[in-house]
């Protein structure tokens, strides 16, 4: 058995008195796509931020390629370089144009010469249909374009694990597809991904494994077919029923 790409063991996290993650365990194999679903406030964002070490965990371990990244003395910046994360609100740097947004980390963190970084960034922009936006500033882009640039920015440092936190939730409906297509494209090239999403149809399509998060616990997980067709837990059934009633599945 090979070591999984990412593994969480007994992860706990509280903000003050509020327990947000409770004994979370998760195994993500290489090239797998895991979708996290669950109602708002169930802890999806916190889980992803913990994996990216943006939020320190209280207990448990997180292993990346078998190495404990939550141990003391770990160089957190090096760990973050190895994965990319994209947030719900695109968070592009408003004072930099598209190219500078994308090349900042390769140049300053990885020491890639400017010319090389820019050439690579332009390649990525072309691949995702954004060639014309190279020197545009973020406030001149549509939400969908901004979010695609945010994905490219995260990809520019060649991570082999990508984390997505409800990346289409802030988008107008007609812009959702273009962003989801980008993620589908990443699945096709074998990217390992953990995706928090409210797009159930997308999760069913793209996920190898779906986790239902409820009040900080992974209540149920399995292949999408099983979770969406024959959910075992009453809470999962209720959640999916609400989604179906809202016409979103």
């Amino acid at each position: 058995m090979t070591t999984p790409k990412l593994e969480l063991r007994g992860v706990w996290k509280a903000f003050g008195d509020k327990e947000v993650l409770r004994d979370v365990g998760l195994v993500v194999d290489h090239h797998d796509v895991v979708c996290m679903i669950g109602s708002s406030g169930s802890g999806k964002s916190t889980l992803l931020k913990c994996v990216n070490l943006l939020v320190p965990i209280d207990d448990g371990t997180i292993l990346l390629d078998g190495a404990d990244i939550t141990a003391s003395g770990v160089n957190q910046n090096r760990v973050r370089e190895a994965m990319g994360i994209v947030f719900q609100s695109f968070n592009l740097f408003p004072h930099m144009n598209v190219l500078d947004n994308i090349t900042l980390s390769p140049r300053k963190v990885h020491g890639v010469p400017r010319a090389d970084a820019e050439e690579k960034a332009k390649g990525l922009l072309e691949r995702f249909g954004l060639s014309e936006k190279v020197v545009e500033y973020p406030d001149r882009l549509s939400g969908g374009e901004q979010q695609r640039v945010a994905v490219i920015r995260a990809l520019a440092t060649e991570p082999d694990l990508m984390l997505f936190d409800e990346v289409t939730s802030a988008l107008d409906p007609e812009l959702v597809a273009e962003v989801l297509d980008v993620i589908r494209g990443l699945k096709d090239v074998g990217m390992t991904m953990v995706i928090a999403t409210h797009e159930m149809g997308f999760a069913r399509d793209v996920a190898d494994q779906v986790c239902f998060l409820d009040q900080g616990r992974i209540l149920e997980h399995g292949p999408p077919k099983q979770i969406f067709s024959t959910p075992q837990e009453p809470r999962t059934q209720q959640f999916l029923q609400r989604i179906i009633d809202a016409g979103r599945l």
Binding site: K49, N52, L54, N77, R78, R80, E81, G84, I85, F87, S89, N91, L92, F93, P94, H95, L104, S105, K108, V109, H110, D139, R153, A154, T157
Partner: protein, 290 residues
């Protein structure tokens, strides 16, 4: 249409208060400008007339607005003012850099940086609690008196140092307000891309922060440009000191007016520029958010 014409009638009056509503069209804009101009002229004429015809005026004119004295004192005052300008420019550059460093240190997170953070806070609190003039006296007279080997003894050096330290404490707080005005998600994005805290500050947070506080920094310019004159207390012959020396020997204060005019010559344009910039910035932000 009826209330329009009654408004016009109102506008057509003396118009000392300007138009009662914001101008709507181009024509009304021109009219508003004309009214503003006319009312200003009237105001100035009336004020001048009141001053120049008062009983005290001849004495005031002799003491403060004497042309012969003006011609006599101006070269000295101008020479001193040139020193003021040089002090201002040098101090401002150092202040902008030094205070930014303090503000960045103050914004570092995590327990490892606690001692540095504490130092920055102590510095800011202490310095802001001491009057500038006291700091100038303390360093300007105090340090040279120590006769320490290898330490500069120039009053100018220590006077400027006092100004720089004092203004840096204030300016650091201006920067910090700017840094805190940048949304937390920007810091998080930067960190998630592998940037260190320092890199995130330098490339992502601070450039945005500075944009947000440029008006406040410009206000600081105006303030410092005047406060450099405080080093006169150390006997440094800048503009006000020169006017002072002249006044002491002639009992005529026209030199002060000459110095005041020179300071105004610099500070008024900066103040106008600050307003213009702030206004433009606000309008830009509004047009983005709509």
């Amino acid at each position: 249409m009826n209330d329009r014409s009654s408004l016009d009638e109102f506008d057509g009056g003396p118009g000392l208060l300007g138009p009662p509503h914001a101008p709507r069209g181009r024509e009304e804009g021109t009219r508003a400008a004309l009214i503003a101009f006319a009312s200003t002229v009237i105001f100035i004429v009336v004020a001048l007339w009141a001053i120049l015809t008062s009983n005290a005026w001849p004495a005031v004119q002799k003491q403060f607005f004497n042309w012969d004295h003006f011609v006599a004192v101006f070269p000295e005052v101008l020479g001193g003012f040139w020193l003021d300008i040089k002090m201002f420019l040098f101090a401002e550059v150092v202040i902008l850099a030094f205070s930014l460093m303090i503000a960045m240190i103050r914004s570092l997170r995590g327990p490892a940086f606690f001692p540095l953070r504490a130092l920055a806070i102590i510095f800011i609190d202490l310095i802001r609690g001491i009057p500038v003039i006291l700091l100038i006296l303390l360093l300007g007279f105090g340090v040279p008196a120590l006769q320490l080997p290898g330490v500069p003894k120039s009053a100018l050096f220590w006077g400027l140092t006092a100004l720089i330290i004092s203004y840096s404490a204030y300016t650091a707080e201006v920067y910090r307000a700017g840094i805190e005005s940048v949304h937390e998600s920007q810091r998080m994005s930067a960190r998630s891309l592998g940037l260190t805290q320092g890199q995130a500050l330098r490339y992502v947070i601070v450039p945005q922060a500075i944009r947000n506080v440029i008006p406040a920094l410009l206000n600081g310019f105006v303030s410092l440009q005047k406060d450099v004159a405080l080093v006169l207390i150390l006997g440094i012959r800048e503009a006000v000191r020169e006017a002072d020396i002249y006044a002491a020997s002639t009992f005529n204060y026209t030199g002060y007016i000459a110095a005041a005019l020179l300071f105004l010559l610099v500070s008024v344009p900066v103040a106008r520029f600050t307003d213009w910039y702030t206004d433009r910035d606000r309008r830009k932000k509004q047009s983005v958010s709509t």
